[in-house]
């Protein structure tokens, strides 16, 4: 495989590193955090730019409202808390004060999905992508590793408009290039293939690459595309790949309802009906466990992507014959 898992890092640290760089390069960037500075890795920014850091306490609604207000006067606020408290808890505040009001707020959300682990389902939000992508004009980004999260953090500062940036807690392979250019809405073709397209986002991108290696050994050439931006969706990249392979698998750490797969299915059903399988959580809450145990139990790993790819290739062949 051309990608290496030798270095492992957490995506939230990529966010912290990107935010610190923004502190130096963008004087108007400010940060707000609701009592999770260490968890979000915002402490370096807080230390370097104390006057531009706002500790809001455990009051997420007020944090989102203050962020909206800070844009009035030209600031670029980055809010930080867990994904659960960044979305579901403050949905109406984001909807009215940020999205509908067109405010330039960056909602940065850590500990998304099952890989939050042992704390259990109260904190493991699996609906956040759906909640955010439904809001008009909201940009939704879910990078795959440390380097990409850092690059995405820096890139969203120069994008005018509300953004939801989702990342996670555990260390995962850091395999994309350091100092990469991050283009919002532009999918990245990590590995070309001809038999099946795997569209993955976030932590599932690495799993998709591992699955592709195993599939190759089984004689299936898988194309792996990193959909780091769920909204706006790179329709051109998805349609081009689906037109080539004529069957697709989506993979994400999120509910099937409202997630990446749902967006891709909408697109394909309108423009290019294609056999599809979805790797996602199927209408269920999570539970306590290690990230690895949970990803396996809920079917969000390379093994399940392999099964889904084999299945969808068979479906394609059945249709073709």
């Amino acid at each position: 495989m051309k990608y290496s898992a030798s270095e492992k890092k957490d995506t939230r640290s990529g966010f912290g590193a990107g935010l610190l760089e923004l502190g130096k390069s963008h004087p108007n960037v400010v940060a707000l955090c609701a009592d999770l500075t260490g968890s979000l890795k915002m402490d370096a920014f807080q230390k370097a730019f104390p006057e531009r850091f706002f500790q809001t306490g455990i009051a997420e609604a007020n944090m989102i409202g203050m962020a909206a207000g800070l844009t009035i006067g030209g600031k670029i606020p980055f809010t930080g808390t867990f994904a659960n408290f960044s979305t579901g808890r403050v949905y109406d505040q984001i909807r009215q004060s940020v999205a509908y009001s067109g405010k330039n707020v960056k909602i940065c959300a850590s500990h998304a999905g099952l890989t939050l682990g042992e704390d259990g389902a109260t904190h493991q939000i699996l609906e956040d992508i759906g909640l955010m992508k439904m809001l008009p004009h909201m940009t939704v980004i879910n990078p795959c590793d440390y380097n990409q999260t850092k690059a995405a953090t820096i890139a969203i500062a120069d994008h005018h408009g509300p953004v939801y940036l989702r990342f996670g807690r555990p260390v995962v392979p850091n395999f994309t290039p350091a100092n990469q250019e991050f283009i919002i809405g532009k999918a990245i073709n990590l590995q070309e293939g001809t038999d099946v397209s795997i569209f993955a986002t976030g932590h599932l991108v690495w799993q998709a690459l591992e699955a592709a290696v195993a599939l190759q050994a089984k004689g299936i050439s898988a194309e792996v595309i990193n959909i780091h931006t769920i909204k706006p969706l790179d329709e051109g990249a998805i349609l081009a790949s689906a037109a080539k392979t004529r069957c697709v698998v989506s993979a994400e750490e999120h509910q099937m309802n409202g997630g990446l797969g749902d967006s891709i299915a909408q697109l394909l059903s309108r423009k290019l009906p294609t056999p599809m399988e979805m790797i996602a959580v199927k209408d269920s809450f999570g539970e306590s466990g290690t990230p690895e145990q949970l990803m396996t139990k809920y079917g969000l790993d390379a093994a399940h992507i392999i099964l889904a790819a084999e299945s969808v290739v068979r479906r394609k062949q059945a249709v073709t014959v």
Partner: protein, 294 residues
């Protein structure tokens, strides 16, 4: 009307009270006519807050109605948190020069910039955030006040809230933050009319001792009678003098819902319904046309 205001400004920074009262009468005519025109909207709270809006926009605020900018650098800012009283907000914005008075006739109609609740979405000058879903405006005003401090902009941020809105938890999140972090460039006001949709605040969910609550949260609390424009102007001035002293400022403004139209006064019934033709005529008879209907 513009020349009328400019002339006063040439003589003094403080307009004559009787001139402000004339504007109040016109704003009240606008409110009942706008709501009647589309048979929907919220006249009660709008009428009760008329003096406050006129005092703010025609006397207190340092602002630039003809050149509205979202960032409002070097200007005082106002945020309406209880967005349902949009009629008084829109009338005051138009009458003070943010947009043409004739646009008031588009209120709540398809393709209007004057949406049922205020929004930035259609680009109406004078509005800096959407409001309507209650409890959010204090946090937004607070954020804008923090931005002013970062920008070393010494102007003041004002906000208005309903008393029923005090039942929203987010208000108290913002209240705690503002005092703890010494946001002393914000002057908030509560429209204390004791009414909400389902009845009196006392019946629905008692607010208890609001003054004691805000003082306990660390705010400086002032009180005023919202029906007397001279008192509103002087209290807002007093509040302004107390900014920059380490505490956010809250004004409890006693008002009467429906103020100025006798049959609408004092009842929650007129919170969110429009007068019919006969009621409109009766209301307008009590409100002299002073600077010209839209």
């Amino acid at each position: 009307m513009k020349s009328f205001v400019d002339k006063k400004n040439n003589h003094s920074n403080m307009p004559e009270i009787k001139d402000l009262e004339k504007i109040c009468s016109q704003v009240r005519r606008d409110i009942v006519r706008m709501v009647h025109g589309v048979n929907s909207g919220h006249p009660g709270g709008s009428l009760g807050c008329t003096e406050f809006f006129v005092a703010l926009y025609f006397d207190i605020l340092k602002h630039n109605p003809k050149k509205f900018s979202m960032d409002g650098i070097g200007e005082d800012l106002f945020f309406l948190s209880n967005g349902h009283i949009s009629p008084v907000f829109y009338s005051t914005l138009a009458r003070s020069g943010y947009f043409e008075v004739k646009e008031l006739s588009t209120f709540r109609r398809l393709n209007t910039r004057l949406q049922g609740h205020p929004t930035t979405h259609e680009g109406l000058p004078g509005v800096r955030v959407a409001s309507g879903s209650l409890g959010q405006g204090l946090s937004v005003a607070l954020g804008a006040a923090l931005a002013k401090k970062l920008n070393k902009d010494d102007r003041t941020v004002y906000s208005l809230h309903g008393d029923g809105e005090m039942q929203e938890g987010q208000i108290w999140e913002a209240a705690m933050y503002a005092a703890a972090k010494k946001a002393d460039n914000i002057i908030s006001t509560i429209d204390f009319n004791g009414q909400q949709i389902d009845g009196s605040t006392e019946e629905v969910l008692s607010l208890g001792n609001l003054r004691a609550k805000w003082e306990a949260f660390g705010w400086e609390v002032l009180e005023m009678n919202g029906a007397h424009i001279a008192e509103v102007c002087s209290t807002l001035r007093k509040a302004k003098e107390r900014t920059g002293k380490g505490k956010p400022i809250m004004i409890l403004m006693k008002t009467i819902m429906g103020q100025g139209v006798d049959f609408m006064m004092g009842s929650h019934k007129w919170h969110g319904i429009a007068p019919n033709d006969e009621q409109l005529a009766k209301a307008l008879a009590q409100l002299p046309e002073t600077v010209g209907d839209y």
